[in-house]
């Protein structure tokens, strides 16, 4: 078993042009590594279509060339022009994370009332709060939409 155990490496929201709308890192990466990852995730994810799986294993060397990435995979889902990507251990449960993305998107949709890309741009600092409610330390923290939204509305009411 991997000593690190299961752990989300990062969560990325990108648009089709490759602009990052959220980047949340759960491991130490330096700025160059982050930039490289962002570009490579964009490169592998945008070429896939509906006939492909929602999982990209990043085993072959050309993608994510540093060897420590070889045990990672990216689980992603596309919503309109946005790609939501979660990078996890190769042994992690694909479908659980795929639905974790959807759960997160439904919360955003409810919180921002029909969320669109611009909401994430103008309220970037609130998106971080939503993420921290649902994912913390690279783990799933809370899965109940009711509970998360209740908490978010409570925070919203604070000065």
């Amino acid at each position: 078993m991997n000593l690190l155990g299961k752990l989300i490496r990062f969560i990325l929201i990108q648009n089709r042009a490759g602009k990052t709308r959220l980047a949340k890192w759960y491991m130490q990466f330096d700025d160059d590594e982050k930039q490289k990852l962002i570009e490579e995730v964009h490169a592998v994810v945008t070429v896939r279509d509906a006939k492909h799986t929602n999982f990209v294993e990043v085993t072959p060397a050309p993608i994510l060339s540093a060897p420590q990435f070889r045990n990672f995979k990216i689980i992603y889902r596309r919503y309109a022009g946005l790609y939501f990507c979660i990078c996890v251990d190769v042994n992690d449960n694909n479908l659980a994370y795929l639905e974790a993305i959807h759960n997160f998107v439904e919360v955003l949709n409810e919180y921002f009332h029909n969320v669109c890309e611009l909401d994430l741009v103008f309220n970037f600092y609130k998106v971080y709060t939503v993420v921290d409610e649902m994912f913390l330390a690279g783990e799933i923290r809370e899965t109940s939409q009711t509970k998360v939204l209740k908490q978010l509305l409570m925070l919203q009411s604070l000065e």
Partner: protein, 977 residues
């Protein structure tokens, strides 16, 4: 009215973001940002004290600017001030800024920690959560030291709110992962386990993650979690689809919690308590039953959530590997998914079935799906799905279906994606050998491999077929006949020429009776390929020719004529020239008897683990190929593919004739004093004058020595540049080729070898380093028969490297003749520590088309290591002196190669440090020390490597007096194991 309006209360921020979005160009954006930065700076510096709102707004703007990718060098103090605000919105922005822009400024850390401490003690759950999230997001050692003791208390305190408990559990998890030593187990651990019983499902969700992590290191302390997890799981699985209300997701009760509980159980063997085990088996059966029920919703979310649990259940069943009934049911369920319309499910079913195939209970059940899997290999659109299908075919292969699987894989190979061809070739080669009933089938299969995908047939594969043919006299005649036929194809792959040359040189006599393959016919067939081949192959053919002189005296005159030709005797390539000269002399001075002894048939190869299997394992990491290693091995094929180290008595010591020319024993009087080389041919080609005073370098010897193969001929690395319109100017250097890092990695622990090779060019390296100086010889070999023009290799220093490393190069001749090589000398001086290697850019014109190639020059900081011996006491004293967190770098990583202590030692010594014995109390561990010598400064380095054979992991710790050096060395070295 949306719940959140744009900018929500921070109008200035929204305006700024709009402005940025409206910028038409990058320049305009930078201009707008600089204006804003100047404005914020003046506000922060102004005399007027800013109110909380303004501070929040400006800090938030700075954060936005940072996230756009610009550097921020001020505002930290204002952000820290926000932490002590008593307004949530201000505090939140402060914490967010700190979490995103972590800064190890010690003065600030003290202030930040102080603010966190206050919030943790505030009894305000909102503030406590903010503080906990900040610790979890930053996760630094300093924070661990400050708070690791408080957080368990908050986690188990009776009066903590549920949301605080959730955050505390995961915050503790983060600190434990970062610095396990800081989190002492204690009385709280028992109470953490009982959180599995908590009423709040969110608390359970967070707690399971924490327990799963803690129990891996302390399985006994957390054993009680098994029964609690089982009963929790049982309650969820048996609940109706709406019982759990908030935690029901598309009619599936608590899917994520179920998955986490099932994963926790995979940390332990099956429960010992019969009642607990019974209850668990019931759960697993319930999940399998539910999979057969009609879906409660047509939404994909419903089926995904349900199947997430199902796949995790199957993982647990496979982990236990003790319930035949469940294993077979799992297999049947996956079988249904193999034809599902969802690509995701087909992919996951193939992946999961792969592990089922290695269980003795389910192997047969998996085999029944062979046709579906073969179909997947042919028709799936997503390459990763086809890859899984190929993996599964490999895993389910045994004696009964080997012929079918191998022929399907061969067929697939013709159209397979480039990315996976090499792996398929290895798999076919292994299966063909493993399950060969008759060896003629094996020979046919390998020759087919070369025919279909010759470029992807690595040396290991064709060496192996030669070993097997040499060792089995019942197949030698067939092999000779088959290669002879294969060589008659008008265009045959060079690898075919190599195999053919070798086999005919050894066993050509077995088919010489047939006039259609008489000795002169064999010779002229081989020689017709000679001129199209690379230096290495031509060298091999020359050896075949001298063997022919022994096998077929009638060919002697013809062959001597060929050897005597100017193109051989005066060949620009030293290896070819040498062979021609020596073979010619040998054939004329040695008597027939001497010739017969010297050129005798090769003795059988010692049995050893298949080099191909080793290669596949390297490719896939440890555990690959295990399906073949486990109990299902066929005894009858062991004679070839033993996989077992032979006992000394069974190793056939190479007879004197293994040294092909026998010259080591008795040099013929006329042996020319030409420089000779030993060992691996492809390296030798560039080895230049070497010390070894013998002639033994024949390609055959490489099979015996089974050296680490020189850079496998990688046709993937064809010069990437598809003929641009004009030669690029000298300034713009292309990015390094994708493999550059991998190639560089091979040289971290060694100084000589082949740096790069493709069909046109081979680049060899020899280098030596002393103190802060180094000298490197680069050998550029033109593998083609056409002259390279405008040949210009240059060394480039990206970024600051110019100030860190001085490299002097000499220009080389602008023309490189076909088959020739040129040498370039580099003088290197390390001025100060550096992180990135210089780039080597090679350009030339080949047949009119410009080619260019950028590699990383194998000069890494560790080359300037000077080993330092020291006693245990001194070591520990220095270790303690380097105890600042930034002086230490640590990595925990999976072993990519078999964990062999001797190999590890050699690598560490190659890395440059001294190895210190009797320092670490654990003899399994390695401890090293050394000094990095640069002109400006010396950097003392201590290292410790702890292998964990059971987990197939290593932990590597580096401590040096310079922070980036620790991290960099750690990264370099971690990639070597």
């Amino acid at each position: 009215m949306p719940a959140v309006s744009k900018g929500d209360g921070m109008r200035g921020l929204a305006v700024f973001i709009s402005d940025i979005r409206n910028c038409k160009s990058k320049e305009a954006e930078i201009k707008r940002i600089n204006k804003e930065l100047a404005n914020i700076r003046s506000k922060f510096k102004g005399d007027k004290a800013l109110d909380g709102y303004s501070k929040k707004k400006y800090v938030c703007k700075l954060l936005f600017i940072f996230l756009l990718g610009h550097d921020i060098d001020f505002g930290h103090m204002e952000a820290v001030n926000l932490l002590s605000s008593n307004k949530y919105t201000e505090k939140q922005i402060g914490y967010l800024f700190i979490s995103v822009l972590v800064n190890s400024n010690s003065e600030l850390i003290r202030l930040i920690n102080n603010a966190i401490k206050n919030d943790l003690a505030s009894r305000n759950p909102t503030f406590m959560c903010l503080a906990l999230h900040c610790i979890a997001n930053v996760g630094s050692r300093e924070m661990g030291e400050a708070f690791a003791a408080d957080i368990p208390r908050i986690l188990v305190a009776g009066d903590s709110m549920d949301s605080v408990k959730q955050s505390a559990a995961l915050c503790l998890l983060r600190l434990y992962k970062a610095s396990p030593d800081l989190v002492p187990m204690g009385e709280w651990t028992a109470r953490v386990v009982h959180l599995l019983n908590d009423q709040h499902m969110g608390v359970v969700t967070a707690a399971v993650s924490l327990i799963t992590c803690l129990c891996k290191k302390n399985p006994d302390d957390f054993k009680t979690c098994i029964s609690l997890a089982v009963s929790r799981l049982s309650r969820i699985v048996s609940s109706a689809s709406t019982d759990l209300q908030d935690y029901t997701y598309y009619f599936v009760p608590a899917p994520w919690l179920s998955v986490k509980l099932l994963r926790l159980l995979q940390c332990y063997p099956p429960p010992e308590d019969a009642a607990v085990k019974g209850r668990l088996v019931e759960c697993l059966e319930t999940v399998l039953n539910k999979a057969q029920e009609p879906p409660k919703s047509k939404k994909v979310q419903h089926s995904n959530a349900k199947n997430a649990i199902l796949f995790e259940t199957i993982s647990l069943i496979i982990h236990y590997d003790s319930e035949p009934n469940l294993l077979v049911r799992a297999c049947n369920q996956l079988g249904q998914f193999l034809q599902h319309r969802e690509t995701n499910l087909r992919y996951l079913a193939l992946e999961s079935m792969c592990t089922l195939a290695s269980s003795e209970f389910s192997h047969e059940a998996v085999k029944t799906h062979i046709d579906t899997v073969i179909n997947a290999l042919k028709t799936e659109r997503d390459v990763s799905v086809r890859q899984r299908a190929a993996d599964l075919l490999y895993a389910m292969c045994d004696r009964s279906n080997a012929k079918q699987i191998v022929s399907e894989m061969l067929r697939y190979l013709e159209t397979a994606d480039y990315a996976i061809r090499e792996e398929i070739v290895l798999k076919v080669a292994i299966l063909a050998e493993k399950y060969a009933v008759d060896y003629s089938w094996y020979v046919d299969t390998i020759l087919n491999l070369i025919r279909i995908a010759g470029d992807y047939v690595s040396e290991e594969v064709w060496y192996r077929v030669l070993q097997i043919v040499t060792n089995r006299d019942d197949v030698q005649g067939y092999a000779a006949k088959t290669v002879f036929e294969a060589l008659q194809a008008p265009a045959c792959h060079e690898n075919m020429v190599k195999v053919g040359g070798y086999i005919l040189g050894e066993f050509g006599n077995l088919i010489a009776g047939d006039p259609r393959s008489s000795p002169p016919v064999q010779f002229s067939l081989l020689h017709s390929k000679f001129h199209l081949c690379s230096v290495a192959t031509r060298a091999l053919l020359l050896s075949t020719y001298i063997k022919f002189i022994n096998l077929f005296p009638e060919t002697k005159a013809t062959i001597q004529g060929v050897l005597r030709a100017g193109s051989q005797l005066r060949n620009a390539d030293v290896e070819l020239q040498q062979r021609a000269v020596e073979y010619l002399t040998l054939s004329s001075v040695a008597s027939t008897d001497v010739l017969a002894t010297v050129l005798e048939e090769m003795p059988p190869f010692p049995e050893r683990e298949s080099s191909i299997l080793a290669k596949l394992k390297r490719k896939k990491g440890p555990g690959a190929g295990s399906a073949l290693d486990d109990g299902r091995r066929d005894a009858s094929s062991n004679d070839i593919n033993g996989g077992v180290e032979p006992t000394p008595s069974t190793v056939s010591t190479p007879s004197p004739s293994a040294d092909l020319l026998g010259l080591r024993a008795a040099p013929p009087p006329a042996a020319p004093p030409a420089p000779a080389s030993a060992g691996n041919l492809l390296v030798d080609v560039f080895d230049g004058p070497a010390a070894q005073p013998s002639l033994g370098a024949t390609p055959e010897e490489a099979f015996l020595s089974e050296l680490e193969p020189p850079a496998p001929e990688s046709p993937m690395a064809l010069l990437a540049d598809p003929a641009p319109a004009a030669d690029p100017g000298p300034e713009d250097i292309g990015p390094p080729i994708p493999e550059a890092d991998e190639l560089l990695n091979k040289f971290v622990c060694k100084n000589n070898g082949v740096l790069f090779e493709n069909q046109l060019l081979q680049i060899g390296v020899k280098s030596e380093f002393r103190q802060n100086l180094g000298r490197m010889y680069l050998f550029y070999g033109n593998k083609t028969s056409v002259q390279f023009q405008n040949f210009s290799p240059t060394v480039v220093h990206p970024g600051d490297l110019q100030t860190q490393l001085a490299v002097q190069t000499k220009r080389v001749a602008a023309q490189v003749d076909g088959g020739a090589q040129v040498q370039q000398v580099l003088n290197i001086e390390c001025l100060r520590d550096f992180l990135t290697p210089p780039l080597l850019s090679v350009r030339f014109r080949y047949g009119g088309a410009p080619q260019s190639l950028t590699l990383k020059l194998p000069v890494t900081i560790n080359k300037f290591f000077q080993p330092t011996e020291m006693a245990a006491q001194d070591f520990f004293q220095r270790w303690k002196q380097l105890s600042l967190p930034q002086q230490e770098a640590q990595k925990i990583f999976k072993a990519n190669h078999p964990m062999d202590a001797e190999v590890t030692k050699a690598k560490l010594l190659g890395f440059g440090s001294a190895l210190l014995d009797n320092v670490d109390p654990n003899p399994e561990n390695f401890v090293g020390a050394g000094i990095i010598q640069t002109k400006a400064l010396q950097v003392g380095c201590l290292l410790r490597l702890e292998p964990n054979a059971q987990a197939q992991m290593y932990r590597l710790t580096l401590r040096t007096s310079k922070e980036p050096v620790s991290r960099h060395l750690c990264e370099l070295l971690a990639q070597q194991f």
